[in-house]
């Protein structure tokens, strides 16, 4: 993979869009930090606790292109995709804390959330399983002759699963309108890429399906955005699926309990220099004449929203045990 190239060489991004990027990336970063480093340690959040630290550019650069009628199937490192779809920090925090007003009413935990109205499928924990599901969502769009598309998110690890293969192949054969965003963060849990595959890039795998694919710097939100625009246009215009491999790095353990000793320090250092938020800010300063103070303001806003949401969420009721057997069937 070559050094990250800021997309400014290729296009002009206006301030408004960049501020949007920054807001969502910061919101994801800060919300996840709050969850992992505070609420989880305080025992207010229990169970598995994953973050997408360092990968924020991927959901942000892509999901901003989604239309209301589109569907998204985010992975466990794509919180910003939910935010962009209008899911609020309140809802997310209530979900993490297992409250009745969380998106799954406390029935599922952490990032395992979604929302039918806002067209987000909650994570299917079986890694890779969302790929065929994305196919079905897209099939229904074509069935009704809509121009909507599906944004599917997954990691490098998913690409070893049978479902990934079956799902990509079916989408290719049926020409389904799907944009695949693959976050290749070099590891699946502790397993590095070279133990996952015998080729260099995930796109080498994708070639076998007849699906157009490209590699982008997943830490450069502008690059992700540009590639997504190409992909979205391709899919929306009926040309079938499109695959984007976003090279990135997981700047955390696999989950909160994982110190990730298996990650070489050099790698961690190398990638910490490519923090997607700092990269975006640098671009905004250098190319758009943004002022560092703008960033402070965005951050302040984000933090105060989080503060308010945490307070709200902590007040929310836990689910009533009398609801235990609800919603297993519509009716019996």
């Amino acid at each position: 993979m070559s050094a990250p190239v800021l997309a400014h060489l290729r296009t002009e991004f206006d301030r408004g869009l960049c501020h949007r990027f920054l807001y969502y990336m910061l919101m994801m970063r800060e919300l996840e930090e709050r969850i992992e480093l505070k609420l989880y340690r305080q025992g207010k959040v229990v169970g598995g606790c994953y973050t997408g630290r360092g990968q924020e550019a991927i959901p942000v650069g892509s999901a901003v292109l989604s239309q209301p009628g589109d569907w998204l199937t985010p992975s466990h490192r794509d919180m910003a995709a939910l935010l962009i779809r209008g899911i609020t920090p309140r809802e997310i925090l209530a979900q993490y804390m297992g409250r009745a007003t969380g998106l799954t009413k406390g029935r599922d935990g952490n990032m395992h959330m979604g929302c039918a109205e806002r067209h987000c499928v909650p994570i299917i924990s079986s890694i890779g399983a969302s790929i065929p599901v994305a196919g079905g969502l897209a099939l229904a769009m074509r069935y009704r002759g809509e121009s909507n598309i599906v944004f599917n998110y997954s990691g490098d690890g998913a690409s070893s699963r049978g479902d990934w293969h079956e799902g990509l192949n079916m989408a290719a054969v049926m020409d389904l309108p799907i944009v695949y965003l693959c976050n290749n963060n070099l590891f699946a849990y502790s397993t590095p890429l070279d133990k996952q595959m015998n080729v260099c890039d995930i796109v080498d795998r994708v070639a076998g399906y007849g699906i157009p694919a490209e590699i982008v710097d997943g830490n450069d939100v502008l690059a992700v955005y540009e590639a997504s625009k190409r992909a979205v246009e391709h899919a929306r215009s009926g040309k079938g699926p499109y695959f984007i491999e976003c090279k990135t790095f997981r700047m955390s353990g696999h989950s909160a309990h994982d110190p990730a000793d298996y990650v070489p320090n050099s790698l961690r250092e190398e990638w910490s220099r490519k923090d997607p938020i700092l990269m975006l800010q640098k671009y905004m300063v250098e190319e758009l004449g943004a002022d560092e103070r703008d960033f402070v303001n965005v951050r302040k806003q984000v933090l105060s929203e989080i503060e308010e949401a945490v307070d709200w969420a902590l007040e929310q009721p836990f689910p009533d045990p009398s609801t235990l057997e609800d919603d297993v069937y519509e009716s019996i």
Binding site: H112, A116, V133, A140, G162, E166, V328, E330
Partner: protein
């Protein structure tokens, strides 16, 4: 009026639902051009077009996953597994995702997965299995197996109209071996309602699928000996019609739990559990299970015959239980 086979009844049921509701479509291996390995979808491609009758690659997991996605996005997929045995390849999608959607995010999955199962056709270990139990055991799924052409048509229609994922188990041996006159007007058979296929006083046989017919044969023979057998056809295996199970036991006080599936972990145990807990006071004898033994399904005639429960065995055990 002419009689309709079980296979044709299912075909008609799907066909009528596709006429009635544009969101119903079928998908699976070899279902379109070929009309399905058992010809359930024959003629549908010509009538409904390739958007609604879809041949897929050989990918059971993707078929189920895509069906679930389509159901989320407003369609009513009717998926075909070429043989029930290969539904195992989509097991994760079915049990871990489709089954849990309503619970996790109040998302209806109005999807039917059709799967031809069962033995007595010399299919051997991979083409004869009765696969109901893992699905019966999964909260969120409904599981159906009709025994008659009437029920086959009425249940497939009800399954298609249902807003939960339904595993619709068809019995290959019944496809062409049973037929009856069907109503010409639209009808459905409600899910989760068992049916008394024969009234009796002395002893209940609780069963489903092909074994309903074997039970009826045994009941007829026993009637000649003055033993009056009630045959309860469960029809829906999940959620079970517990009330009908308990009623027949309270009425006759004796029960045989009969299925073609193997013994351990089979539905007979579940039914025994329900009866032994909720109708214990009414019981006048042990609950007998008559099932296939705990082995894979054998191919060779002599073995398959010995493997499958039969009327002789039922008659013998029923006599014993009657005298108990």
């Amino acid at each position: 009026m002419s009689k309709t086979t079980y296979v044709e009844a299912i075909r008609q049921g799907i066909w009528e639902e596709m006429e009635r509701d544009e969101s119903v479509f079928v998908m699976g291996e070899d279902v379109a051009v070929y009309g399905g390995a058992f010809k359930i979808t024959k003629g549908m491609l010509e009538r409904f077009g390739e958007m609604r009758v879809i041949d897929t690659p050989l990918s059971e997991s993707a078929i189920v996953g895509a069906g679930t996605g389509a159901a989320i996005n407003g369609l009513r997929p009717v998926l075909e597994m070429q043989f029930a045995d290969f539904m195992a390849c989509g097991f994760d999608q079915i049990t871990n995702f489709a089954a849990k959607c309503r619970y996790r995010w109040q998302q209806a999955i109005p999807m039917v997965i059709r799967a031809p199962g069962g033995g007595n056709i010399h299919g051997g270990p991979f083409h004869s299995q009765n696969v109901e139990m893992p699905y019966v055991h999964t909260p969120g799924l409904k599981v159906v197996q009709p025994a008659t052409a009437y029920d086959a048509k009425g249940l497939i229609k009800a399954a298609i109209r249902d807003n939960d994922p339904v595993i619709f188990l068809e019995h290959k041996y019944l496809y062409r071996s049973v037929k009856e006159e069907l109503p010409t007007e639209d009808y459905t058979v409600p899910l989760s309602k068992a049916k008394t296929q024969r009234e009796g006083e002395d002893l209940s046989i609780i069963t489903y699928g092909w074994m309903v017919h074997v039970a009826l044969e045994a009941a007829e023979r026993l009637a000649g000996e003055g033993i009056s057998i009630e045959v309860l056809d469960l029809r829906t295996l999940a959620p079970l019609d517990r009330r009908s199970i308990l009623e027949t036991c309270k009425k006759t006080s004796k029960a045989i739990l009969l299925h073609e599936d193997t013994l351990t972990g089979g539905l007979g145990g579940e039914v025994a559990g329900i009866i032994a807990e909720h109708a214990f006071d009414y019981l006048d004898g042990p609950l007998l299970r008559i099932t296939a033994p705990d082995t894979p399904v054998p191919f060779s005639e002599t073995l398959e015959k010995a493997f499958l429960p039969n009327a002789d065995e039922i008659v013998k055990k029923a006599r014993w239980l009657y005298r108990f």
